[in-house]
Symmetry: none
Subunit: 232 residues, 2 copies
């Protein structure tokens, strides 16, 4: 059971990541895949044009400091030849003042060092703005709309706090899949190696609100983590 949730495989947004630091590229890539995107990673912009026509990304995550052509040059290429959104990775140091002006042509930017969860959130937000991604997710009679921050259960609005909403959004993106507490801690809080009780407390609060007007959706899988799933 629970084979491929098919989070929309055919319609999954494509994201191209251009980042020369392998560790960062890999981390960004897996975070984005985890969030349901189709991801391609390149260490430089050498064959950007080819990549744009072949992979046809909906969005490009672009480092500014790159070997060969730098991020700003690549940004222009993207703008000229494709309708893809662009999220830039910029460093905050002495030189950045000069670059600050440059990264403003992007749809959004993230300042290094950044929390993966924030990058994912910004990528999702840009894709939504561009209309490449539906902003609402449905699980059973539960409806989560990212834009308006509205959550409905059986058409009745549910009031959530910011943290509860972030948690729910993550679980919704992973719906049908069991996610560990550690995984949740890094995705939602950006914490590595932290007290899992933090997750338990917020799951508890979330459940109280979600399941006030319906059966259980957020299930505990003992020893493994949690799943958001509607029983049939």
């Amino acid at each position: 059971m629970v084979v491929a949730q098919n989070v929309g495989v055919s319609t999954a947004a494509r994201v191209l990541v251009i980042e020369d630091a392998e560790a960062i590229g890999a981390a960004v890539g897996s975070a984005l895949r985890e969030a349901g995107f189709q991801v391609q990673i390149r260490p430089d912009g050498r064959d950007l044009e080819g990549e744009l026509t072949r992979f046809r990304p909906d969005l490009v995550v672009l480092d500014i400091m790159l070997p060969g052509r730098d991020g700003f040059t690549l940004l222009e290429v993207i703008r000229r030849t494709s309708g893809a959104g662009v999220v830039m990775l910029t460093a905050r140091d002495g030189v950045s003042d000069r670059l600050r002006g440059l990264d403003r042509g992007a749809d959004d930017y993230v300042i290094k060092p950044f929390v993966l969860a924030e990058l994912v959130a910004r990528v999702s937000a840009v894709l939504r703005r561009l209309g490449r991604t539906p902003s609402t997710v449905q699980i059973g009679d539960l409806l989560v709309d990212a834009d308006s921050a509205v959550v409905l259960r059986a058409d009745a609005p549910i009031e959530l706090t910011a943290t509860e909403l972030r948690l729910l959004r993550y679980l919704a993106a992973q719906r049908g899949r069991v996610v560990g507490k550690t995984q949740i801690l890094t995705a939602v809080w950006g914490y590595e190696d932290y007290d899992p009780n933090l997750v338990e407390v917020h799951v508890s609060a979330l459940r109280r609100k979600l399941e006030e007007h319906g059966p259980r959706l957020l299930h505990t899988v003992r020893g493994l983590g949690y799943v958001l799933r509607a029983e049939e």
Copy 2:
């Protein structure tokens, strides 16, 4: 049932910016994107014809001083082959330039140096005139007419200051969507990384006027930002 307001994301107006100064082009581009337009930037008019058929802009922001063919020549090309609106960027205070541009059919012009917010306002105004964008927005019993700068609540006029109006217009354009204070600061003030209290103060002032004669429309979403929305 209130799913996604879908502010018209899929039908977002397309704006082509032709500007050879990188910094200006980038700044203009990001300001327009912030305002919800789909933007393409080009440093010259070399392949204007291709761009018009490929990108099919609803409006072109056109610098006059350009390498190769100048703005006026390009303006004629646009008029001949497309129905796009045109907003020209005129260098100095050249009154003659201004008249020339209008004579030859630019829809509006902005004199350099200009405030980004003003350019955005003029672009929006032209698009509205061309019928590409609705000029009045309604949220519950609140009516915001961007053209005439008239705001009505339950048919009673409300007097707003310039800043309050800009803020309200932005929130109205984003209605139903939660917008962060940072986002508001860049969209309404053009500030990056500024004190959020500035927004809070103006929201407070705006509320006092808007909600004098009716229930709350401008809601705080703690930890996320503000939304303009009528409750059901």
